[in-house]
């Protein structure tokens, strides 16, 4: 096992362990806190894969944006600290079946896919390449993303406004 592998398994362990805590923790703020580490672990794996831009975006958007939104949502609900937020386990059988099927699908995908095994050379700067592609090949997608975000903005704001009234 090389150093690379050790670091990979370290990040993978961080991701899975903290993901487990997210699901099982009783205190919802602890869940949010361990979600932080889940995102970090995933970012670390992205770095190992040579996708530096994606890794930083993962931190910038997920940790710096979505998780903050989540925390705000949690804090907006009153009296959250001492309340036991545990949903309990219901629908065990359908849940187990659904998870089993999903896991089977993922495992079969893992087994049957022909993975690229040759050592991939890490691109020097992924960001510039990404920008080139965004301007040339995926220009339509770039602009559509702008429109999508506009729709999301208007939708989110109007829903929030309705709740305010």
């Amino acid at each position: 096992m090389s150093l690379y592998d050790i670091i990979f398994y370290l990040f993978a362990a961080i991701t899975i362990l903290s993901g487990f805590i997210v699901v099982t923790s009783k205190n919802i703020v602890y869940s949010a806190f361990s979600l932080l580490f889940t995102f970090f672990g995933v970012a670390g794996i992205y770095v190992l894969l040579g996708a530096d831009f994606i890794a930083i975006v993962q931190i910038l958007v997920y940790v710096g944006g979505i998780l903050i939104l989540l925390l705000f949502g949690v804090m907006l609900t009153n009296k959250i600290t001492n309340v036991d937020i545990r949903t309990g386990t219901i629908h065990v059988l359908p849940g187990a079946v659904a998870v089993g099927v999903l896991m089977g699908l993922l495992l079969s995908a893992m087994v049957w896919t022909e993975w690229k095994t040759q050592p991939s050379e890490t691109p020097v700067t992924t960001t510039v390449t990404l920008g080139r592609l965004l301007i040339t090949d995926y220009i339509l997608i770039f602009e559509l993303l702008g429109i999508l975000l506009l729709i999301a903005l208007i939708g989110a704001a109007s829903i929030a406004r309705r709740e305010q009234e």
Binding site: V29, F33, F53, L60, V63, G65, L71, T125, V128
Partner: protein, 343 residues
């Protein structure tokens, strides 16, 4: 360079940078107190050491020996973690700041930065966005109304200004074509400092940096008249010192970022024309970097002791209605500049 040499050189650099941050923070606190005294026509600390220079060290010693009071209503784990997060964020941003050009010491080519990452600027932005957590958790876990209000106010303030900060940085990237701090510095050779080419972006970035570091006139999270101490109302001893240290370390990183992005980093315009030796030039350039940072730090302190605090609605409307549109205008301005002059 073989692998051991890389490790040794990196470790030396890391330790040097961490020590430098600590020393710089200690002196910065002292200078802040002296300068504020000077601005307000007082004397300031002048008893401990020569002209009071050891005052901060004494304060740290005092805080080390103080009892750590954790309120019974608080969430103890998060209460302890919050200052650690704040400090961790403040420290880890220093890894990508270039202090000078590449130098050759004892035959080794050494970069005057800890890590030369391609996406350095984004790394700093991402870690800055993590700074919100220390404050939010501090506010949430203390179990005090003042802390909670201070924490929430502060996080809303920080995320609001983060947007205009990001857009201002995009203006810099248009010119430098790289996210690497060292290349951004090199792109500003001669008089072509970004502060001159894109003054609007410079202003929006500086204002956002003030808001991100929670410094006056944007220090609403700890506005004493209404919120006592804001998110650190319930903190004492070393944990309080942690927040204090983080605030000043953030101030230094903000100054270093402004210098790197807008003031030409370690560059001195046209120094190569003087025909000085390589060693002397490098020394002067590193000195120039620190001088610029020190000037910006002085500016931070100067503003703090000259301008009154904003009201919260003023702060938010300044962020969203003035700084944000201005930073977008700045992007269009730079884009036009490149189109017209082929920079």
């Amino acid at each position: 360079m073989n692998i051991t040499e890389i490790i040794v050189v990196s470790l030396i650099k890391i330790v040097l940078v961490i020590v430098m941050i600590l020393v710089a923070v200690i002196f910065l606190v002292y200078f802040e107190r002296r300068i504020s005294a000077w601005i307000q026509y007082r004397i300031g600390p002048n008893r401990v050491g020569w002209k009071g220079i050891l005052q901060t060290t004494a304060d740290v010693m005092k805080l080390l020996l103080k009892e750590d009071i954790v309120p019974s209503a608080s969430n103890k784990t998060l209460h302890t973690l919050a200052p650690i997060i704040a400090l961790f964020v403040a420290f880890s941003t220093y890894a990508v700041i270039p202090f000078g050009p590449d130098v050759t010491i004892f035959g080794y080519q050494v970069k005057l930065m800890v890590a030369d990452v391609n996406i350095g600027v984004l790394y700093v932005l991402a870690l800055t966005s993590l700074g919100v957590y220390g404050i939010t958790f501090a506010g949430y876990s203390s179990g005090s109304k003042y802390s909670l209000l201070g924490g929430i106010r502060s996080s809303a303030q920080m995320i609001s200004y983060e947007v205009s900060m990001g857009f201002s940085v995009a203006g810099v990237l248009l010119l430098s074509e790289s996210l690497n701090p060292q290349k951004i510095v090199l792109a500003q050779s001669g008089w072509m400092w970004n502060a001159i080419l894109q003054p609007i972006g410079f202003i929006t970035f500086v204002v956002s940096a003030f808001a991100e570091t929670n410094r006056l006139p944007f220090d609403l999270p700890e506005a004493e008249p209404e919120l006592v101490g804001g998110y650190h109302t319930e903190y004492s001893s070393m944990k309080f010192a942690g927040f204090f240290l983080a605030e000043y370390a953030n101030m230094i990183i903000a100054s270093a970022m402004i210098t790197t992005l807008y003031l030409g980093g370690w560059q001195i315009p046209y120094i190569d024309k003087l025909g000085l030796g390589v060693t002397l030039t490098t020394l002067l350039q590193v000195g120039a970097f620190f001088l610029k940072v020190i000037f910006l730090l002085f500016f931070f302190i100067w503003v703090r002791w000259s301008i009154p605090r904003f009201r919260y609605d003023q702060l938010m409307s300044l962020g969203w209605k003035v700084m944000f549109p201005l930073s977008i205008i700045n992007i269009i301005w730079v884009a036009c500049l490149i189109m017209i002059f082929n920079l």
